[in-house]
Symmetry: C2
Subunit: 226 residues, 2 copies
């Protein structure tokens, strides 16, 4: 499948690399490809410069947000939450119209220090705001409760015996995303309901971030025991 991924950070790269390995044609999008390629320092999360990663992943193309979105039959929003709506506006409504948009971002607010709080929560969610801004796009919130390494390789932890959630208004879009998740190794995929149910997994982040602080690793995950 042709997949466009918005965001060249750790999450975008990890998803792009694995999806290309699985045989998908992946274009990864950024605001300014020349600037992204010109960077020589690690980013604020400690990821090496994109150019280093790109050399190791020659099968993945780099383009603008709009080029990546236009390329994808399916698009993944993997920019940070604070930049998500702006990146999607740059990608362009016409390039997203009718398509499935997987939203893996979280509305993290780092302005009050660590651990971050949320800049949207409780009676709204980032998933809903994206769906509201792009009514002709089929938004599916998923994978936001996980570190990128686990997203693409759930089996690295407890043989994959843990859970992932999907939220979205379109059942066929959720079914297609479920298929993609299974191809990554996910077994327990829980359909929470329409896009308003994205509040749940987004509001899980404060608990997730405490556990990550406690254990100094993001390699853990929820299993919903029932």
């Amino acid at each position: 499948m042709k997949i466009g991924i918005l965001g060249t950070g750790g999450v975008g790269r990890t998803l792009a690399g694995r999806l290309a390995e699985l045989g998908h044609e992946v274009t990864i999008g950024t605001r300014d490809p020349a600037a992204t390629l010109a960077r020589t320092d690690p980013d604020f999360m400690g990821n090496p410069p994109f150019s280093v990663w790109a050399q190791q992943n020659p099968g993945v193309k780099l383009g603008t947000f709009a080029e990546a979105a236009a390329h994808g039959e399916l698009v993944i929003n993997a920019v940070n939450g604070g930049g998500a709506l702006s990146a999607l506006q740059s990608a362009g409504e016409v390039n997203l119209s009718g398509k499935i948009l997987i939203d893996v971002s979280n509305p993290l607010d780092f302005s009050r220090g660590m651990p971050p709080s949320l800049f949207i929560s409780n009676t709204d969610s980032l998933g809903e705001q994206i769906q509201h801004a792009f009514p002709n796009t089929r938004v599916v919130k998923t994978l936001n409760t996980l570190n990128a390494l686990l997203m693409i390789n759930p089996g690295m932890l407890a043989n994959g015996d843990h859970s992932v959630f999907v939220s979205g208004n379109d059942p066929t879009a959720k079914a297609a995303v479920g298929e993609l998740l299974r191809s990554l190794g996910w077994q327990d995929i829980i359909d929470l309901g329409d896009i308003t149910s994205a509040r749940g997994p987004e509001m899980f982040l404060p608990l997730y971030l405490r556990l990550m602080g406690l254990w100094q690793t993001p390699i853990f995950q929820l299993k919903v025991v029932r």
Copy 2:
């Protein structure tokens, strides 16, 4: 141990009954004991009148919030979130001073319909507000992510192979609560940190409530796989 439980609803009763079975001296507190005993209809959650339950649990005493708190060496707040601070004020600062207060309540806001949202979240929590209002009380937030039947009998689900969280400022209070939890059958007790970490388990409620709506049962729980 002498335990005071605030709240005669399903959670308070379930905890009271089990803790009395385990040999503790339990007094359960309510705003107006005569009114609580006089009720003949089920409450809004469908629990039978308290008097019916009291006849089946003769070892548990009924008193005012203040009497229950004064009785307890350890006190449990099991009133609904919206009534928690008011019930604790009725219990009286002097009756809570120096004691461990286990807070199992959630700041659920039913005013916008179902599922409820939270009336405190993100940069604050009900656990923190209680600690702030009663600075001489050692507040430990725990068990709020669970149905009452699971609180007292984690083994009824997956042989107890799931997780419970504790948050609080006082390590010795958390250790004592951990011991009480182990006596109920809990094995995986995760100490999240100080009382500000109560935001995590409280903000888990929106996900919990979606899952409960989906499966039409509260008998499920999180296991943190790591």
